[in-house]
Symmetry: C3
Subunit: 633 residues, 3 copies
């Protein structure tokens, strides 16, 4: 498949007179896709049942006539005011018990039946009207599920639905009580209708309660999305996507993705560096105008898995954004670099958000390809350059990477319910592991925690898998790959209990986690040799070969044939040692990278990226700041 | 007019037997004014309609007999409990949606009609009784509007009044929708009654929505105050004041001031240094017992403008206060220095808060001129010294300063709604500019953003004016002065949109802000030469002469004849360079000041102030710690 | 009395089949006590009136048959869900006005009459059944009053009860108004029913209001506990205890203790170091696996006073806990050290919490003596060693210490209502003083603020006593001991007013605090000689002998015969100087301790403890890390 570019456009924001010129400029710039419609409910249906499709018909027509393919978004992320007036209790409720008011976006609770019905209605109407429109070449459901912390709702609607979900899962209150260990503090329930949502408790709620609420909340998103996907699929042959966000882990993207053809995500490297990467100040300064060298790549690899190979960047940062604590401009060249990093990871399309900077409302400080006065913004030239480059480039050639890294949303929830040490998170652990793999010059496939995904890899890293189902344990043990598990591997049963035989409870492996501890981040435990454990350490007993140990001789990584149990959260140097060790055993060649330089291999090319604001000399040549080298393989 | 001193007194706090002795001691100390009454509603009207004026009659009599002039405060900042019982919904509601309970002060919402009526009633009764009392020589409305964050209320009353205000302003919901750009996220309203207050939205509300709520909230204060002023003015010839606070910018003080004869403010240099100046720790340590060298002066100059020349310090810190995070004692001499700094800026009166330290209730740790045991507190001697000095000093001789600095409350709200970078504020920007002017030894007039105020200045600094009305643009361009605009000058239309032709959109000036960025505070962008841009930078294109530029050659200040556009937030060194450059062009002589030393010129004298805890030698002589030199001009 | 060990056990968490084996292992390990029942209400009474005592009968039987003595807890800290369904308004309400939901523990308001009645009923039933059971050798009321910030409740029930309490105390609203100084801001009340709880006020509430609410809240706990104690005492001869927490000062433990035979507390040295000691990062790192060298000792001495000599550690940390920000494992030997430190301070019993780590619910990460798989956890060997050692050791021989330190809960509330400087707390001040005494090698008796407790001491330290009743003043002045008062001694009347004659208002002592100031923690005021005042300083005038003064000559400690007034909060070096000075005058020998080493004397032995992770050589011999030396006296 040919690589393509696109942009996000809001015809409803602009006089109809400029649509044609806009469309022509998009086409001229080499763009293929134009996403529209996802916030337009208010103009489609300004009052209940008063439908205004005409303008949207014309907008799609104008864009299509210019040769552009339309991605049509369902508008359910922004219900108009009248929908809220009709269903006042559709608003989500935050963890403090406060309804989240109308006046921005995503102001709905996934569990509200009335709002679900409104969505079914408007999506059906939209799919009926545009399902066979020749210019509508793809769909997007809703917009950025989970953005602005919108998955967990503590509303009455959510409470009722949670009780139903529990009843379905446990069948009897006693089964729930046993599963959760409610005997602990006389927390037994006599009825599912006694179960409340786990917020505002006097001290922490039962972790099983909290984890089930996380699982329920994720399932509500899956169902909400599935309804839309089914309606559209019955009426259109165009593929359906959703645009996920960076580091939103509050729902299971794999399960949502199972109902869609394409995964896509919204990539804002500079905003993310400031507000969610977790970098320290020195790193934030160094990469302020380039973004983190691994964060985007991680999500590219993650969403390639979510899309089962088909994935896009639906929104690509083109300049300063408006929403981060600080909003600098990108270094010249970075918009091109970010685009090529996406293509190197197999993206089918990269769409710049947004076409023209809006002069009004919440995102008026968000750059676009055009300035508010319609002149080209700096990103436009870089987009044109990429368009020219992909026209010459070989087609997308995905290749299985030698190394797999498992990402498990359920594990993320379990860690968030019980981090054990302040600041510890599953996402953070997996990202640290991913960084080490990238520093070693390795291309990585992120895979879901599914036995069927393991084939063909030489090494499989699976840090932090709190609960491992039996079939997954069997598959990991049966794999030919070098497999790394831990810390906290199999630490919990499905119901969030410690397994009777102690973790990791792997059949045939003589290994027990007998005690765990978390430590201050300023108290690293040095490894014998180099590197350290920081923050978290499983105390293990077993008969395997010690691969890493503390200076005091406590085992930190222990090998049982192809399986290595990692007992601690390693610092960067420690992870580098582990990756080197495992890659060596797996027969995978590593290429240690200079700081800020990264590579990625496709079936046909090796890509080199320089995230530094200074030039770097590498074996493939001279990399200027923001430089990209494409090296045939 | 002769300079005067005064104090704040609460006869209701003390046995009537001590009033006479207190009055005599005030007079003996050289005080002229005594402010009373502003918290006494509960003793004036302990139950609905049960009026007890007798004690207040006697108190005023005793004070007047001693030769003191009374400033009588309306008691509306502390409605008694029964008022709240009668109007339970009169309580303001905070941004979290919680009613702010009875039990301290300022427990009312400016928009509550019932409470407005109670105020009208009690103020009328008070003005009827004391409007012609010979001892009542001035009035104060309410007390410290905005203190304790009391301007923005999210109550039902505020919501209703906001809807009325919007209907008045926009006339139709569609006009509002267009003005705000509500199409952006399907936020259109079909009726004004659909508009909610902009708190607790899922993500940020529309900035136009937020800004209009700020403007509405300010207007409510103006109306509230106006009602009282009109009642008093119809019944008394004495001038009316309000006592504003330091760094409270939530309402437009100029508009409130238009209904009053005198502006006054409550100056707490040590408390403010700790809780609102924004100083770093080193500065807080250095000036812990002296206060910031510029913060009081800034407010003196600001409130001189608010009072159209007539202004007081209504409350002057006389010793440790009770309410800051840390409450040290002033360096000996500082109470005198603070008093003289006020007089140097044209104050008619300085009143020490309070006469005697209260042994009970919220401010029992707040020093007065007397200790709780009625002995003189340390400030008393300094007050006596000032009284003796002003008796010998020339009368207040205001003189127009060579340099004006514009302060615009509306700009402050726009920045607060959309700072773009964490920690950026309009007040902070203007204060930084003011500091640089003071470091250059310049006396400054702060002026309101009004074309009529510009005459007679050699230089006019107007940083950060987010919206500039057309007539103001014309006046600035027509001025003979050196005018400095930016950053963010004219960045928004009245409705908080980006202007079509891009900012600053100045007729006849070929200059555009094509992109803006905010940066981490630890990422200064060095200027070529010396100094740096920190935090905020407009990217500009224009044909003017570059006055300052970054090391990389990006213009930071650009000159078009007498107009200089400043594109970035400068650090202290950068501002010093700009001030030096502009003063040079304007023909204004500068006198670079040693750290912590400041001067201020009146028509007759140059004042030197030493805010350091160590002596400094200056051209006018030796300044001891807390030293003041008065040098004839 | 012989020293004993015990553990905390939850038969309801485990299959009945393992009870017997568990009991045998407890006995074999040398344990005497087993505490049970305190969270078991849900299994005792799963539905209203449906009582299931049989399992508890059998559990007590099995334990008793094994030779163990049972401590039976009343289950009122964990009312089952049906109790909350019956009394929905029994939930406490937090300071933000939010009900604190069911789902963990301590979900009740002490003031709720309906819940009080439920407690009376279940405790009566339990005492009826087990009051004469031969195996029930002690009782525990409820569990950890005040844990999770559960003393202050802002519920309707609390509001009503507070009004009753005020009516009882003041008899008339006018008396209350006068006592509180409500005239200050027109805060007078016409009826007790006008008084609200002091949360969510616009600015701080009246400190008298806030202090009375603290006193009321404490009294509610005393009454709640008293009811249970009286029920049990009428039905059982076994002593009654409550298990207090570390640094919970929201109620008066002395008054609760007056209704009980034994004080006990729950000692978690590593958790407390992280979450409540107030240590800086360097100290947290150094003692991360050992705990603070003074914090446990302080509580041991405090609760010895609360228990009038009889006290236990009811819960002793045996390994990593689950609830602190970071949860490291103890250094080997520390469980033994902690146990011996308790015995050195006179503990009758030390019970390890808990027997077996629970695999489920909130504390599944909390270590026990057994691992979840029932194997011995590391603490088990240390417990066995202690059991062996106490078998050989002399009996508990309490001895009055030469030095007393007064701890006054009422003073703690007054400081918390009015710290005057950020971060200042009474508890912190007293602990700093205690640390200095320990650094000087002194054994200390903590005593309640009661004239009858003063006899027999050579030195009495009473820092920070905000209010001192007249009889206490007289007793302190009459004491033969060296007495240290201040800072803030007698700073307030009972009603939280400044005394007319200024503090400390001591009959016959010519000393006045004329002004007070608080200072930034980074602004120490150096003492002449060595050490500094930090954070707080009384300015004093008096005719005593200056013992300490600032470099500038301001007196910081002033002596009047045997009385020394301390005017400032001293740093460690300053406190060391003061302790040395006072001990010298009192004729008490000091033994300056190396860092992390502490001693404690009983009637028969001197104990040496090494809290360092490295060995230290002392006069008594070589102390390894976690080392204990018992030296006969
Ligand atoms: Zn219509
Ligand atoms: Zn009356
Ligand atoms: Zn039953």
């Amino acid at each position: 498949m040919q690589r393509t570019l696109g942009t996000c456009y809001y015809p409803e924001h602009w006089p109809e007179a400029v649509w044609e010129r806009d469309a022509a400029r998009m086409a001229e710039a080499g763009l293929t896709w134009v996403r529209i419609g996802e916030f337009a409910w208010g103009r489609i249906e300004p009052a209940p049942g008063d439908l205004h499709w005409d303008w949207l018909d014309r907008a799609i027509g104008v864009l299509g006539q210019a040769g552009l393919k339309v991605v049509l978004g369902t508008p359910t992320a922004t219900p108009p005011r009248w929908v809220v007036d009709k269903h006042p209790d559709m608003l989500a409720v935050d963890a403090e018990g406060r309804p989240r008011k109308f006046g921005s976006r995503r102001h709905y609770c996934f569990s509200h039946a009335g709002y679900q019905e409104e969505c079914r209605r408007i999506v059906t109407l939209m799919a009926d009207r545009y399902g066979r429109n020749p210019h509508v070449a793809a769909w997007q459901t809703d917009n950025e599920y989970g953005c602005h912390d919108t998955i967990l709702s503590y509303s009455e609607a959510a409470r009722g639905a949670f009780r139903d979900w529990l009843a379905q899962r446990y069948q009897s209150p006693d089964a729930l009580n046993r599963a959760w260990g409610n005997v602990f503090w006389s927390m037994d329930y006599a009825s599912f209708d006694d179960v409340d949502l786990p917020n505002l408790t006097v001290t922490e709620p039962n972790p099983s309660h909290a984890l089930d609420f996380r699982r329920f909340s994720s399932d509500q998103v899956v169902r909400f999305n599935q309804v839309q996907a089914e309606i559209i699929r019955a009426r259109s042959d165009a593929p359906i996507a959703h645009n996920y966000m960076g580091r939103v882990t509050d729902f299971d993207h794999f399960k949502v993705g199972d109902d869609l053809e394409i995964a896509s995500w919204d990539s804002y490297p500079l905003g993310f560096l400031e507000d969610r990467v977790g970098a320290d100040d020195a790193k934030k300064r160094h990469f302020a105008r380039q973004g983190d060298p691994d964060f985007q790549a991680f999500h590219h690899d993650l969403y390639r898995a979510v899309g089962r190979g088909r994935w896009w960047v639906m929104e690509q940062q083109p300049g300063p954004v408006n929403w981060a604590p600080y909003n600098p401009a990108p270094l010249p060249g970075m918009v091109r670099l970010w685009s090529w990093e996406a293509f190197a990871h197999g993206a089918e399309a990269v769409c710049y958000f947004r076409w023209r900077q809006a002069p009004f409302a919440q995102e008026q400080m968000h750059a676009g390809l055009l300035r508010p006065d319609s002149a080209d913004a700096p990103a436009m030239d870089e987009a044109r350059q990429v368009a020219a480059e992909i026209a010459e480039a070989p087609e997308v050639q995905p290749a299985q990477a030698p190394v797999a890294l498992i990402f498990d949303y359920d594990a993320d929830w379990a860690w968030s319910v019980q981090p054990h040490g302040a600041g510890l998170s599953y996402f953070g652990l997996v990202l640290e592991c991913y960084r080490a793999l990238r520093r070693a010059g390795l291309s990585v496939d992120i895979i879901r925690p599914d036995a069927a995904q393991l084939a063909g890899y030489k090494a499989i890293f699976a840090p932090g898998l709190m609960h491992i189902p039996d079939d997954m344990k069997a598959a990991l043990l049966a794999s030919d790959a070098q497999v790394v598990l831990g810390p906290r591997a199999g630490a919990r049963t499905r119901d969030m209990a410690i397994p009777d035989r102690l973790p990791p409870d792997l059949p045939g492996i003589d290994l027990k986690v007998t005690r765990v501890e978390s430590m201050r981040p300023d108290m690293p435990v040095p490894l014998s040799g180099d590197g350290a454990v920081t923050g978290y350490l499983d105390e293990i007993e077993g008969v395997g070969e010690t691969v890493l140990e503390t200076e005091a001789g406590q085992p930190v990584a222990m090998r049982f044939g192809g399986l290595t149990y990692l007992a601690g959260w390693l610092d960067a140097r420690g992870f580098d040692r582990l990756v080197s060790e495992i890659a060596g055993r797996a027969g995978v060649a590593t290429h240690p990278m200079p700081e800020g330089v990264r590579i990625r291999d496709t079936g046909t090319e090796r890509f080199w990226f320089n995230y530094n604001p200074h030039p770097v000399s590498v074996e493939a040549g001279e990399l200027p700041p923001a430089g990209v080298i494409r090296q045939p393989r």
